[in-house]
Symmetry: none
Subunit: 143 residues, 2 copies
């Protein structure tokens, strides 16, 4: 289970340390893609192949399907964690998520998310995540 919040920084070449506590669960090789709300998603191999299988079934003739597949697959990269625990974030993904240096990495159960740190702070301070709203959603889900 991928959990926790970590802050790290990109090096000059755009590499990032994978927090030691996430390393085991995410695996040595994993996939990052463009995510929602301006962050990047990171999936373990298992989660990803699942997802790929589903994408493959979508029809080429349907424009919505093409758009969706393009978004995820064109935005995807396989990453490998090096001996020093770092991995490279492709430049187009860095650009997409507007990452300069300071980055937040968070575990979200089945995936990780990588955020520009400022954006993450801001996102957290917004009303989208007021305790009330969350509580409401919890009751909706029957928790």
């Amino acid at each position: 289970m991928l959990i926790g919040e970590y802050e790290h920084s990109l090096d000059a070449k755009g590499r990032l340390i994978m927090p030691a506590k996430l390393r085991e669960d995410i695996g040595e090789k994993f996939i990052i893609t463009k995510g929602l709300d301006g962050c990047l998603f990171g999936f373990s191999q298992n989660e990803w192949t699942n997802f790929e299988e589903k994408l493959k079934t979508l029809p080429l003739t349907n424009k919505n399907a093409r758009d969706f597949v393009r978004f995820f697959l064109s935005g995807a990269t396989e990453c490998e964690i090096d001996k020093q625990g770092r991995f490279l974030i492709a430049s187009n993904l860095r650009e997409y998520a507007e990452m300069e240096k300071e980055v937040a990495i968070i575990g979200v159960g089945t995936r990780i998310e990588i955020w520009n740190k400022e954006k993450w702070k801001k996102y957290n301070s917004d009303e989208n995540i007021s305790a009330d709203a969350i509580a409401e959603n919890m009751t909706m889900l029957g928790i």
Copy 2:
């Protein structure tokens, strides 16, 4: 699995570098043809025969289907990657996809797509990929 987004440029003779990360999957010889949404499609030998098979199943009695088949087959060319990792894009295909110099190559699972870079940027900034639509599709696919 063909994934990722790469930006490269045509040389004076209309040749293009095949990004190193796609080379293995697409194979030394592959097929490019006119694609949908103004780009070119590129298939590995295997995927191409696959695709041909699917086209063959379409009813020749239906004009739409005939048009569809002609569209893909008439534009198809075999490409070979040279020692320096480049391949030539036939001039009629370059013209079809309105390629001048700057080009985006993307991996979309079973095929690659080659876009005029500007067109690709524009396509990405359009609403075809609103966050809402993506989120919706994600839940549909159970992610």
